[in-house]
């Protein structure tokens, strides 16, 4: 892999990780719980991107498996919280 591409990927990784911070900020400031929730959802999504970039950097395809699980299942928590928010109680 050429140095340029390597550099691009590295920078991309840094940016993606950097983007986590404003999202975290959104989690902290809200203002509504739904805001925080969607910020967390974004963090998850960004992390999927981070993993994908890491796969390129580390040159190992298996890292994508982690992203797969994250993509498929982290929203379970989001749904649970959303349901709690919209109904006040769960069951």
């Amino acid at each position: 892999m050429s140095e340029l591409v390597d550099a691009i990927v590295q920078i991309a990784l840094v940016i993606m990780v950097g983007l986590l911070l404003p999202c975290a900020y959104r989690v902290f400031i809200g203002p509504s719980a739904a805001d925080r929730l969607q910020a967390i959802e974004t963090i998850t999504t960004l992390l999927i991107g981070v993993i994908v970039l890491l796969a390129i950097i580390q040159g190992s395809a298996f890292v994508v498996d982690v992203a797969l699980a994250l993509a498929a299942f982290s929203f379970v928590a989001t749904l649970a919280i959303a349901r709690y928010l919209s109904e006040g109680r769960m069951f």
Partner: protein, 116 residues
């Protein structure tokens, strides 16, 4: 070589859209519009990165497709659920032009401070 260039381009695109999405999350006026921005990260941002990785690291192509599949299932559902939760817990809309949902009978939530 071409794959590398195209791949890198898609990665730049993916990162760009992610960046835009996060800017949206910071800038947009209410939770509903911020959910749009968040969805953007998921769709355009990650799509770009996935295409990029599939090109740069050919071994991941199949997995990238699988990942995309799951993202297609989960991402809109999450956005929808959050939006519904926000609306049901009376999170205010920023100056809307039109609200067809106002007045439609919906499941009412129990009062809790948690949603505020």
């Amino acid at each position: 070589m071409i794959a590398e260039i195209v791949g890198a381009t898609f990665i730049i695109l993916g990162v760009f859209f992610s960046l835009v999405g996060v800017i949206g999350i910071m800038r947009l006026p209410d939770v509903y519009s911020r959910i749009h921005a968040s969805g953007k990260v998921a769709t355009l941002g990650i799509f770009g990165l996935l295409i990029g990785v599939a090109l740069l690291l050919p071994g991941t192509l199949v997995k990238a497709v699988g990942l995309l599949l799951f993202l297609l299932i989960s991402s809109p559902v999450a956005s929808h659920a959050i939006a519904a939760a926000a609306y049901r817990s009376n999170v205010p809309l920023a100056d809307v032009q039109r609200d067809d949902l106002a007045g439609v009978s919906r499941p009412q939530r129990k009062r809790s401070r948690d949603a505020e």
